[in-house]
């Protein structure tokens, strides 16, 4: 499957994502520069973590207006797969490809630690590799992961099944104590209505190989690659 990793000035997890897709999952991967206006035929687009445009104005705000995002929007509108990780998630929110917004972490600290996540959806292209209610351990590293929207919008998000990952205890219980940043309803990841665009704050690319001591993140990439390959097969 052809994968594209978007590089903004200030992206810093781009090579990690490239490595996982190319060397762990053996896929064809290309970097997409923020000024590109095409996706070079990529079927899976990943917006990596980092500090795109230095997080000037708001995290993701300026990146959301860069030329490549027009192509990413068209890809998403056509049902193409888009994954935003951490800063990439913030870019997707600012671009309007996902609902909601990020605020400063409630305790005002940059949070860098492993968290537990409960997979709320196991039928999405990105989560098919998970069991229902499966608990994952993934690292987070962010200052602005405090997900927010109006109560009505949050209710709609829940009703539509767009909450994909929630911060939880190791046993899967969703508690205030397991919420590292104050995110509304412990939300760590959401998808669009179509389920083809996913954003999450934790970093699956940092735990996708045994040598790193944790492979819980790999299933997200592997699921997307598998779903994409099946979709390509079905079209042929």
């Amino acid at each position: 499957m052809k994968c594209g990793v978007v590089v903004f000035p200030g992206s810093n997890c781009d090579h990690d994502v490239y490595h996982v897709l190319k060397h762990v999952l053996d896929q064809e991967v290309t970097f997409l520069w923020h000024q590109d206006d095409t996706l070079k035929g990529s079927e899976l687009i990943v917006l990596p973590g980092g500090f795109a445009y230095g997080d000037y104005l708001r995290a993701g705000a300026l990146a959301a207006l860069s030329p490549v995002m027009g192509a990413v929007k068209r890809h998403a509108d056509a049902g193409g797969l888009v994954l935003g990780i951490c800063n990439g998630f913030q870019v997707l929110l600012e671009a309007g490809l996902l609902p909601g917004a990020m605020r400063r972490n409630e305790n005002l600290r940059f949070q860098c630690l492993d968290v537990h996540l409960r997979a709320e959806r196991t039928d999405l292209p990105f989560t098919r590799g998970f069991q229902a209610g499966q608990v994952l351990r993934l690292p987070i590293a962010h200052a602005e992961g405090n997900y927010e929207d109006s109560p009505e919008k949050l209710d709609a998000l829940e009703a539509n099944g767009q909450v994909v990952f929630r911060y939880c205890e190791p046993d899967g219980r969703v508690t205030p104590g397991s919420n590292p940043n104050g995110a509304a309803r412990n939300i760590a990841g959401v998808c669009n209505a179509g389920g083809n665009v996913l954003g999450l704050m934790p970093h699956p690319e940092r735990c996708s190989e045994p040598i790193l001591g944790n492979t819980d993140g790999l299933a997200i990439f592997a699921s997307a690659v598998q779903a994409g390959s099946q979709a390509v097969g079905a079209r042929r």
Partner: protein, 86 residues
């Protein structure tokens, strides 16, 4: 003309930064401070002469970029300069 755009967290949303600043002000001898909302201010010079049109354009800028209206409100103030209304 010159304008000032102010963007601040929406009132119904907890502003963790403003709360920390309020707590610090309380600590250093300003116990009467009840609330602080921490926002951003932009001074914008605009090649425009019609204050009403400039106001519309500035609000459009807020909607498109300067504010994230999911969590922020904004206000626009024309400061004056050539063509500004008295």
């Amino acid at each position: 003309m010159k304008a000032r755009v102010t963007v601040y967290p929406r009132r119904e949303i907890l502003d963790p930064q403003g709360k920390a600043i309020r707590d610090a002000l309380n600590r250093v001898g300003f116990p009467r401070v009840e609330e602080v909302r921490a926002g951003k201010s932009f001074e914008i010079s605009l090649g425009a002469s019609d204050a009403e049109a400039a106001g519309r354009e500035l609000r459009d800028m807020c909607e498109k970029l300067l504010a994230n209206t999911v969590v922020e409100d904004y206000s626009v103030e024309i400061l004056g300069g050539e063509g500004a209304q008295p």
